[in-house]
């Protein structure tokens, strides 16, 4: 009896971890772009949607394996992010964060409806093989879930290495800390911002694919819906802070999993936001944007 309860709890934790690992990829990407561009990008959810649909296109029409489709989707969404930033955000960059934020909402609406117009509203799923879950001590884990978790951890590791071990990472941190100072120190901040857009959007694309794999099916509105969850994780960790975003994502993932199992299954977002609002109320000043 007690053992059952424990394995049930472990099961919920495992779901939460996998859920959190999907959120983490999106949250780190969003927070990276905030760190360098200094505005909250409401169009970020569309990068997830476009990632999922691009992977779907490559995998079904192109017939490529899912991992190849994932890489193509990341690259494609990365380029999309750079192009979007050039067309919509760069021209009003000097006007402060508010016009940028509002513009991003318009961009989100534009992208989402373009996708809806072309792809329709039917639910789609990636051709991921159905594999029987393996059982470890009474806890059921699907190999697909494990794969999602591992890919997410690899992505986190890659971003950690990028920030700490590469020249680009150092330039990103410098630009985030003080753009003027970075510029007079000889850093080409325009190029750094462009590359940050690529990395952040590609992370969004990957998050979209992971979301599509772990929680099928997906629609053109999937990314926009998930954006709320990504926001919660990002803010929880302190916006602009990648390691905070990872921790925040884990907490949000676990909260959603525990809440929907032990409290009520009909609410999911509410758990993420109950935590978020609680944190905002206790430390509204302590989570102000930081440097990367």
């Amino acid at each position: 009896m007690v053992l059952d309860l424990i394995s049930q709890f472990a099961q919920v934790l495992v779901f939460g971890l996998i859920n959190g690992s999907v959120i983490a990829v999106g949250a780190v990407g969003l927070t990276l772009s905030y760190g360098v561009t200094r505005f909250i990008n409401f169009a970020y959810g569309e990068f997830l949607t476009y990632g999922a649909f691009l992977a779907f296109l490559v995998a079904t029409v192109g017939g490529a394996p899912v991992y190849v489709a994932t890489i193509v989707a990341m690259a494609g969404v990365g380029v999309l992010g750079v192009v979007i930033a050039r067309i919509f955000f760069k021209p009003i960059r000097e006007r402060g964060p508010l016009p940028l934020l509002i513009t991003s909402i318009g961009v989100a609406f534009l992208l989402r409806n373009l996708m809806r117009g072309v792809a329709g509203t039917d639910p789609q799923s990636l051709p991921v093989p159905l594999i029987r879950p393996i059982s470890i001590g009474g806890v059921q884990i699907s190999p697909v879930g494990i794969a999602v978790f591992v890919v997410s951890m690899l992505a986190m590791g890659a971003i950690h290495l990028l920030l700490t071990r590469t020249m680009l990472g150092r330039k990103m941190r410098a630009t985030s800390g003080n753009r003027q100072l970075a510029r007079v120190s000889g850093i080409d901040t325009d190029s750094v911002i462009r590359r940050t857009w690529f990395v952040a959007s590609a992370a969004g694309g990957l998050a979209g694919v992971l979301l599509a794999v772990q929680f099928p099916p997906f629609r053109p509105i999937t990314g926009w819906r998930f954006l709320l969850v990504v926001f919660a994780a990002t803010i929880l960790g302190g916006i602009g802070k990648p390691y905070g975003a990872m921790a925040g994502a884990l907490i949000v993932g676990l909260a959603m999993s525990l809440g929907s199992f032990y409290v009520s299954g009909s609410y999911t977002l509410a758990y993420a936001f109950a935590i978020l609002v609680a944190v905002l109320l206790v430390r509204p000043e302590g989570i102000a944007g930081g440097e990367i």
């Binding site: 200094r38 505005f39 909250i40 919509f88 021209p91 009003i92 006007r95 402060g96 964060p97 508010l98 016009p99 934020l101 509002i102 513009t103 909402i105 318009g106 961009v107 989100a108 609406f109 534009l110 992208l111 989402r112 409806n113 373009l114 809806r116 117009g117 072309v118 329709g120 509203t121 926009w224 709320l228 926001f231 919660a232 803010i235 916006i239 009520s264 009909s266 609410y267 999911t268 977002l269 509410a270 936001f273 978020l276 609002v277 905002l280 109320l281 509204p284 989570i287 102000a288 944007g289």
Partner: protein
């Protein structure tokens, strides 16, 4: 495609009524964003609160209607004069909800406020969808009385109700103009321009922001009641983030802190949305044209911000400048 004249007239009437409802919403958001600089991305929650309040106040008590009317509360305030009670209650509930949401988030920086309001509206939507004992969720409360319709008949009622909505818009406009010309309005603008300075002058800025939040929320609540009595039903699917987005476009298009501007913005936007409904469908792509209509609205928002940030009737010197801090 030929539309008969009476059909055309009733189409124009219903479009005007919808535009008036959006004008009320836009007037409310203008108090928040245009005057006070508060980034409220959860406006639809106040609209929904008002609509459900109007419904619950006026639908017949549970059990008196045959055919699966399994809601828990229905006060059955008699029509047509009960509509006054219904509007009052909706304003109250919209205002209180705004106050509650404001209490959690007005102290936050602007960016956090944007996300907090967006999120809280999302939770409110989940609440409406799930608490079916009260709201009947996705089935909806479908017997909200339309005040005076049985006495006047459908056509005349459409005209009278439109005039009723117009009177409310004019009344709200006058009240807001008066309020915003008073010292209170100048204080709101002061907070928008420089909250630190307002605080230095001894103003309790959090309290003033809360008042602004409550006023705008109450106006959105009234809009909800007008909507509920016009459509005759309230369903969870009506109160989605799209509504918030459309109101934002109306406000930004019309002009910040310009009440005439945001009313104009609401009319332009709703006219565009309703007229483009009649665009022909492209063979094989049923979602293409309907989606492009909304993509155009998204693009419009982007273009307004970039090329005419003060909007159609706004004053360029009054651009909202808050949010430079994070």
């Amino acid at each position: 495609m030929a539309i008969e004249l009476p059909g055309m007239v009733s189409f124009l009437l219903s479009m005007t009524t919808l535009a008036l409802i959006y004008a009320l919403l836009a007037l409310g958001l203008n108090v928040h964003y245009g005057y006070t600089g508060l980034l409220n991305f959860g406006h639809v929650a106040f609209f929904a609160a008002g609509a459900y309040t109007a419904a619950i106040v006026t639908i017949p008590p549970p059990g008196t209607v045959s055919g699966g009317a399994d809601y828990a509360i229905g006060l059955g305030v008699p029509m047509p004069f009960g509509v006054v009670i219904s509007l009052g209650a909706s304003a109250l509930v919209g205002g209180i909800l705004a106050l509650l949401i404001g209490l959690t988030s007005v102290r936050l920086g602007n960016h956090y406020l944007a996300i907090a309001t967006f999120a809280l509206a999302g939770i409110f939507e989940e609440f409406i969808r799930n608490e079916a004992w009260l709201t009947r969720g996705v089935i909806g409360l479908n017997n909200v009385p339309k005040p005076g319709r049985s006495a006047l008949g459908a056509d005349l009622w459409g005209l009278v109700y439109m005039l009723f909505a117009a009177a409310l818009v004019v009344g709200t406009y006058l009240v807001i103009e008066r309020l915003m010309g008073a010292p209170f309005g100048r204080l709101l603008k002061g907070i928008r321009e420089d909250e630190q300075a307002a605080r230095m002058l001894g103003k309790s800025t959090s309290q003033v922001k809360l008042k602004s939040f409550a006023i705008g929320g109450a106006i959105a609540g009234i809009a909800g009641a007008v909507y509920a009595h016009y459509i005759g039903s309230v369903v969870a699917g009506q109160f989605i983030p799209l509504v918030t987005f459309l109101v934002w476009v109306a406000v930004l298009l019309g002009g910040l802190a310009s009440n005439r501007g945001v009313i104009l913005g609401a009319f332009v936007l709703i006219a565009f949305r309703e007229v483009t409904r009649f665009l022909p469908e492209i063979e094989g792509y049923p979602t293409l044209v309907p989606s492009l209509r909304f993509a155009v609205i998204g693009l419009l928002l982007v273009l307004v911000i970039r090329f005419k940030p003060e909007g159609l009737l706004g004053n360029p010197d009054e651009l909202v400048t808050t949010g430079d801090d994070t």
